[in-house]
Amino acid sequence: MATHESTSANPKVNYEYRRRKARDEMRMQVTSFATMIFMTFIAFIVVIADFDKYYAFPVLLLLAGAQVVLQLYYFMHMSHKGHGTAALFLYSGALIAFITVLTFLTIVWW
């Protein structure tokens, strides 16, 4: 069973190809890390700049959402194939999460 990935006729080529692919992916990971740091800076600047909350809240939530997408799809490899069921589980949880927060907020607002 450990051989199922050795599909290439030349294992050496396969090995070097995999190494290169992993390296490229790692570069992508560092890029997404830099993007997350950048988004964190923007979020803190928005608070320091003391914008009105009706401007600040949507921006902050959007930045958090984008950062979480990067974390899930790159750091947690959800962009790789074979993550269909994983995505189903997580998004089911996220749906219930959204409804729960919405419910509690509407309870206190009305």
Binding site: P11, V30, T40, F57, L60, L61, Q71, T85, A94, I96
Partner: protein
């Protein structure tokens, strides 16, 4: 079982060692189901916090905007975000079958996580002693410590998990028995960072805006 303890080199190591064995596949799937459940758990705590934020019995209690300080939250965010990257590096070396480098990066992850935890303990101590903001002082206090404390408890579990894996497998080397274990622990660690992104945004940043 002899399958699982088979010795590999970086050339014979499978491309997705975390999902090569049936146990690894099941672990992977089961863990994502668990993360879906964790999402719901944290959602209920976030919802409670949002509903009870700044709900204090009298005006001599401090509110979110009076207590939270940006520098501390910023340092904690950077520590946890960086620890997420170091565990990505660890999994990169795991996939290349470089056990020693994987151990080094995981150790770095543990150190960053421990530093985060240290700041969090200081933060709670500071709120309790300088602001009288405790678990029982107000509904706001209960909701705050339950949400942020639950995240902190996840950090403790994540650190303990990494340390146990590192100690138990210190001399075993990397094989198909432990590769899924390291992989799943690193998924958990990333999830802790995902939750923190919402905590620093919703609790601290939005709390300071208003």
């Amino acid at each position: 079982m002899d399958d699982m303890n088979q010795k590999f080199t970086s050339r014979t190591w499978p491309e997705s060692p975390e999902k090569t064995t049936l146990e690894g596949k099941n672990k992977f799937l089961g863990f994502w189901l668990f993360l879906g459940g964790e999402t719901v758990l944290f959602a209920s705590l976030f919802a409670t916090y949002l509903a009870l934020k700044d709900s204090v019995p009298s005006s001599d209690h401090y509110l979110a905007a009076d207590m939270f300080a940006l520098p501390l939250v910023f340092i904690m965010t950077m520590l946890l975000l960086t620890s997420s990257l170091t565990s990505v590096y660890a999994m990169y070396h795991m996939k290349n079958h470089n056990y020693q480098k994987m151990q080094t990066w995981l150790l770095l992850t543990v150190l960053l996580g421990a530093a985060f935890l240290g700041f969090e303990i200081y933060e709670f101590y500071h709120y309790v002693h300088d602001y009288n903001h405790t678990f029982t002082s107000s509904a706001f206090g209960s909701a705050f410590y339950t949400l942020v404390g639950f995240h902190g408890a996840h950090v403790v579990v994540g650190l303990g998990w990494f340390i146990l894996l590192l100690v138990r497998n210190a001399k075993r080397g990397l094989n198909l028995y432990n590769a899924p274990k390291f992989f799943v622990a690193s998924l958990y660690w990333h999830f802790i960072d995902v939750v923190w992104v919402f905590i620093f945004t919703v609790v601290y940043l939005m709390g300071m805006v208003g």
